[in-house]
Amino acid sequence: MSDVMVRAEQVCKDFGHVQVLKGIDLEVLNGEVMCVIGPSGSGKSTFLRCINHLEKVNAGRLYVDGRLIGYREHGGKLHELKEREVAAQRKDIGMVFQRFNLFPHMTALENVMEAPQRVKGEPASVVRTRAEELMERVGLAAKMRSYPAQLSGGQQQRVAIARALAMQPKLMLFDEPTSALDPELVGEVLDVMRDLAREGMTMIVVTHEMGFAREVGDSLVFMDDGIVVEKGSPREVLTNPQHERTKLFLSKVL
């Protein structure tokens, strides 16, 4: 296992003629919690989606745990990976969405069990035990048989985190996990994420929760208009931003 979990080299992404990512260079170390902030439309979600190849990178390279994402480099040329190979890469990368995206026709426990059982093909008994442990860990032992529609937003998001963890990923991506929640429910989700960080999970967290970024984040990235404007320790960036754009953004959100 290398020390660097994620390495982005000049990552560019266009949608048609619109350049959304304009050369992102970043490194996330093993066990690091990197928080990403930036105005709406700056490309934060797109960057996360490139990391697990939900979007194809147009230029540059993305490596997760030393492996090139989405392509194979061979004889100086890039070859697209087959669907199964891309899926295999995604097994190691958990993702949590702003709108939870739980499977509404399955119970909470079935949501957590689906991928390990049917994607990895692990035995049902093993998966069930792990799923029940995870539900307990996110504080929802009593809600395993509930369907998503019967859960509050905060509970749904905690199930979504358990679902991602059930695949035993090396890396977790969070795309504004608390932005769709009522204010009083934000805390319970951040608590689960804080525990996860403490246990050493490598995490990239797009968030507007500056308190969380300051307390839990090892590093903080400010993105604007498809580039990384500033990266540093959360305290430095939040209290002593070096760039005008960072200052402007922080003055609006703090």
Binding site: N52, L54, E83, R84, A87, A88, R90, K91, I93, G94, M95, F97, R99, F100, N101, L102, F103, P104, H105, E114, A115, R118, V119, K120, Y147, P148, A149, Q150, G153, Q156, A160, R163, A164, M167, A180
Partner: protein, 295 residues
């Protein structure tokens, strides 16, 4: 002022609006119904005795059986092929999309009756049927008429037509599922097929089931068109009987009564199936399934 002190105002007891129009309409309907009943009882041309004589006769029962199996086969085949066509229609591959579009254009743009006539005369279009290399040599060939069977052509004709309609229903169902569901599934490492089978299609069912029930009931009635092949289902059986007895109206009404019995059974089934899939649209219910997007 606290709640207990608050005085409830007097309960409203208003004079309800009168609806004289409803009484007139009811009177008209009662008169019409009385006329109909009187006609059914007194008009000898219905010849109920003749209908009763044939109702459970072997040829009619055979026709009913053929109608039932054709309906089931056409719906099963139509749904299966419809899923394939819907997935092709949603495929990223433009050739797949184009092929599916062309299929729908042909089969939805021509009358079913005419299509069935063509299937009935398919031997005139393809006199031989063989297996071999496209545009190359054929290894085995048969004369089409040796393989031809009216039952096969009837089922084939109905399936191919129904698939075009089911494809649109299934496509609409798939598109009704929140795209976030596919993203979440892919992010967990599921393949496209797995995502479709386990995540998208079960949720699409809520949208797919009601129109499919209507299609099945239409199909029951459309089987009568395979007389074009010709194949001995219920209506064609009735025709063959009155061809020798000249009791045209009694036989056709007998066929209608059979269709009504069968379609009533299907409507009851449809009611229960729809109720099953509607369950869980609300967070309150016990066993919640098939709700829309998460929020």
């Amino acid at each position: 002022m606290t709640d207990t002190e608050r005085v409830r105002p007097e309960t409203i007891r208003a004079v309800p609006v009168r609806h004289p129009g409803r009484w007139v309409a009811a009177a008209v309907i009662v008169v019409l119904a009385a006329m109909l009943v009187s006609n059914i009882v007194t008009n000898a041309n219905y010849n109920w005795a003749e209908q009763w004589k044939y109702f459970f006769s072997p040829p009619v029962l055979n026709g009913v059986r053929n109608t039932i199996w054709l309906t089931i086969a056409a719906m099963l085949g139509g749904v299966s092929l419809g899923i394939v066509l819907a997935l092709m229609r949603l495929s990223p591959n433009p050739l797949m999309r184009g092929a599916s579009w062309l299929y729908l254009w042909v089969f939805r743009g021509t009358p079913l009756y005419t299509q069935l006539l063509i299937w009935g005369n398919i031997g005139a279009l393809f006199p031989q049927f063989g297996i071999g290399i496209p545009f190359g040599p054929e290894f085995v060939t048969w004369p089409t008429n040796a393989l031809y069977s009216a039952a096969l052509m009837a089922a084939l004709g109905l399936i191919l037509n129904e698939a075009a309609y089911m494809a649109e229903i299934i496509r609409a169902g798939i598109l009704s599922v929140d795209p976030g569901q596919q993203e979440a599934a892919q992010a967990l490492g599921m393949t496209r097929m797995h995502t479709m089978r386990r995540i998208v299609l079960p949720q699409a069912m809520r949208v797919i089931v009601p129109p499919t029930g209507n299609e099945a009931i239409s199909m029951l009635k459309n089987t009568s068109l395979v007389a074009a092949i010709p194949y001995l289902e219920l209506t064609f059986t009735a025709q063959t009987i009155y061809a020798s007895t000249y009791q045209v109206i009694p036989m056709l009404i007998m066929a209608c009564i059979w269709y009504l019995i069968l379609s009533s059974i299907m409507m009851i089934g449809q009611f229960y199936i729809e109720r099953y899939y509607a369950k869980g649209s609300h967070p309150g219910g016990g066993r919640v399934r098939f709700i829309g997007g998460t929020a």
